[in-house]
């Protein structure tokens, strides 16, 4: 055990530090786990998520790569074919596209193309989403683009505890896993229990019980959804909050169960709603629970535009009020008909 993880099993950590602890613990657990990415060594990553890891594990385990995203992913695939477990860092969401070909035509398909002979357990960490006040290409929400590719697993934690365990579970998974890290929540503190595994990374979780409506959200919007539910309770609305957590596979059963119970579902994400992942959730929940729903599944998300300049992101990204507005629209229906 390393210095960090030998401390008390339950610690309060910012989400970024929880990921750091997860990477540290996996590097310690398996000598074939490697980290690769730009600036992840001496600098510790631009968000310091890998801080100190190269010092402790060496430059051969924590590899500062050339500035080449396709190269980072393509070589990760080659290392994985040989039995290693590379954890590749993409510095910002908007920079993943030079590697998109390697991820979608190669990484996602190799197990299938080889009839199962070769596994490629590559983990890809991508800081994503808005609200960090940076310039263009530093705020993107491309999860739906990857969700459409079979062969990839896609998860997104929303708390420090999930960030720790979901990262560890991604690394030991034999499939390629993309971990979309909600970068605006990197500094969100929470209790991390390193002794007791959190729920399975590929499931959804009900974070707050309610009876009148459900908000399903993931990653950066989960704290917003919880705050919206709290605000709604003041107005006498009992709102349940489901953290989707896993985009592929999607735990549609848990979401549909909640929607069937509360009879109203609002899906929220930062990505544009048009063609977005919320549409997949809405369609699946409708198929599963149509007769139980009092209102159509409503979506809250970004607009059909590129992320606007960060000075306007407050008008683009769903906030508490936008979620409450959607909940109210759902309450306008009674048994599927507008009252």
């Amino acid at each position: 055990m390393t210095a960090e993880s030998s401390e008390a099993a339950v610690r309060t950590l910012p989400l970024a530090r929880a990921i750091n602890a997860a990477l540290r613990d996996e590097l310690s657990a398996d000598e074939k786990t490697l980290l690769i990415g730009e600036d992840i060594g001496a600098l510790g990553g631009v968000f310091r998520v890998t801080d100190g890891l190269q010092t402790d594990f060496g430059e051969h385990r924590v590899i500062d790569s050339p500035l080449a995203e396709s190269g980072i992913l393509g070589t990760s695939i080659g290392m994985a074919m040989r039995g290693y477990r590379p954890v590749a860092e993409i510095q910002f969401d908007g920079f993943v596209f030079p590697a998109y070909n390697q991820i979608t035509t190669q990484l996602a398909k190799i197990h299938n193309r080889t009839d199962g002979a070769i596994r490629v357990p590559v983990t890809i960490r991508i800081p994503y989403g808005g609200h960090i006040g940076s310039i263009e290409h530093h705020s993107e929400s491309p999860e739906a683009l990857f969700a459409h590719t079979a062969g990839l697993r896609i998860i997104t934690p929303s708390s420090a505890q999930d960030a720790y365990w979901m990262t560890r579970q991604a690394i030991v998974c034999d499939d390629p896993v993309i971990v979309f890290e909600p970068k605006r929540r990197y500094w969100l503190k929470g209790e991390v229990d390193t002794a007791n595994p959190a729920p399975d990374a590929f499931t959804a979780q009900v974070l707050r019980e309610g009876t009148d409506a459900t908000i399903a959200a993931y990653g950066p919007l989960v704290p917003v959804a919880l705050a919206a539910a709290e605000a709604a309770s003041v107005q006498g609305r009992s709102v349940e909050v489901v953290d989707v957590r896993s985009i592929s596979p999607l735990d549609d059963e848990t979401i549909a169960r909640s929607a069937a119970k509360t009879r109203r579902l609002v899906v929220a994400h930062e990505a544009p709603t048009f063609g977005g992942f919320g549409a997949e959730i809405a369609a699946r929940v409708t198929e599963r629970a149509y007769h139980r729903l009092a209102a159509p599944v409503l979506r809250v998300g970004g607009f059909h535009m590129p992320y606007p300049p960060s000075g306007q992101e407050h008008r683009y990204l769903p906030d508490i009020d936008r979620m409450l507005e959607a909940v109210e629209r759902a309450f306008a229906y009674q048994n599927g008909v507008v009252r």
Binding site: T75, M81, Q102, Q106, D174
Partner: protein, 369 residues
């Protein structure tokens, strides 16, 4: 840069100070073996082309004309060296022991790959150009990790290298640039083989590069060599010399093998629409197999009985293919469900169950009739 040539077009052997000594590694059996592999591959290739014309293959990518480049290079490597091919390395694949039927699966579209790459140290064919050159670099990084962990199997000693194949067209892709950057930065044990067959489908090599492709290596900080890819002895010697240097830990090398694709890019195109007949004729006169046979005969390394025996072997292989290929069946879609993920995935399982129920419904319907 003149390509290294040992065997002239008329079949005469010349001495080369640097490369001729590497031919000492080939005894008479091995010399005959080079011929046998080239001749059998050419017959295989012709049969595959005609099977495609008969509708038995979805597509075929002929390698006729490139036999020497491929056989010379692969013969210079160890069986434990990992090969990352593009989609035209049929001679290399057969040399490594992949069966003609296994090789046909992709082109008959009965499977995406018919062989286990780990069984032959020969990776899947790559359709997305140059993508495999990064996997090769990653594999080479894995070799370095294994050395660090003392995890290399004893029979691979410390000298395992990686061969990354690409064509002149793929040399324009971004991934080959990134691969060479990684190879140079980490001094990876990699050999790049660019088979410059002069045409990327209908686009000539001059559209890919204004300088010989071998010259590009210098820009990354390693050596590039041009070899006559229609000369199996030069192809062998240049690859053997490069492999020796790479095994000695001196970093990557690039060989541009100057050769020519005699046939179409694939059976889907018609080279007469984009290539001059004179060019084809000129290159046909440089044929790698004819040239080598002339030398083998003159040097008294092989007699008519040997050539007859090879011809019979090649004809047998072709006859086998005519019989076996039409009988090849696609893998079941159940196998595809099985291998999308290594671990269970909720949506895959749901859709698998749905298809099973749906198809069972038709079976019941049939039963009631």
């Amino acid at each position: 840069m003149q390509p290294v040539q040992l065997l002239a077009e008329d079949g005469t052997l010349t001495e080369h100070e640097t490369y001729s000594p590497y031919l000492q590694g080939l005894d008479d059996d091995a010399l005959r073996g080079l011929y046998r592999h080239m001749a059998v591959e050419r017959r295989f290739d012709a049969e595959a082309t005609s099977l495609q014309r008969q509708g038995q293959l979805a597509l075929w990518a002929p390698a006729t004309g490139q036999e020497a480049a491929q056989i010379g290079t692969i013969a210079a490597l160890n069986p434990t060296d990992r090969v990352f091919p593009t989609y035209r390395e049929h001679a290399m694949a057969l040399y490594r022991g992949i069966s003609p039927e296994e090789l046909m699966t992709l082109f008959r579209a009965t499977a995406h790959s018919g062989w286990d790459p780990n069984a032959y140290n020969f990776h899947l064919y790559a359709i997305v150009l140059a993508s495999q050159t990064l996997h090769a670099a990653g594999w080479a990084m894995g070799i370095q990790q294994d050395l660090r962990l003392n995890a290399l199997p004893r029979d691979r000693a410390a000298d395992e290298i990686v061969l990354a194949c690409l064509g002149d067209g793929a040399s324009s892709q971004g991934d080959i640039h990134e691969s060479m950057v990684f190879a140079a930065s980490y001094q990876l044990p990699m050999l790049y083989l660019i088979q410059n067959n002069h045409w990327a489908i209908s686009v000539p090599a001059r559209t890919q590069s204004r300088v010989p492709l071998a010259d590009r290596a210098a820009g990354y900080g390693f050596e590039g060599i041009r070899a006559d890819g229609n000369d199996v002895l030069a192809s062998y010697a240049v690859a053997a010399a490069a492999a020796e240097s790479i095994r000695a830990g001196k970093g990557p090398k690039l060989i541009e093998s100057v050769t020519y694709r005699i046939g179409a890019h694939t059976t889907a195109d018609d080279p007469s629409k984009y290539r001059a007949a004179e060019e084809l004729q000129e290159w046909s006169s440089k044929d790698p197999i004819t040239r080598y046979r002339t030398w083998l005969t003159a040097a008294d390394k092989a007699d008519q009985a040997f050539f007859d025996e090879v011809k019979e072997e090649a004809e047998d292989l072709a006859a086998d293919l005519r019989r076996t290929v039409p009988a090849m069946q696609s893998i079941d879609i159940e196998r595809v469900f099985d291998t999308v993920y290594a671990e269970p995935h909720r949506q895959v399982e749901t859709e698998r169950a749905w298809l099973k129920d749906y198809e069972a419904g038709f079976a019941e319907e049939e039963g009631r009739k």
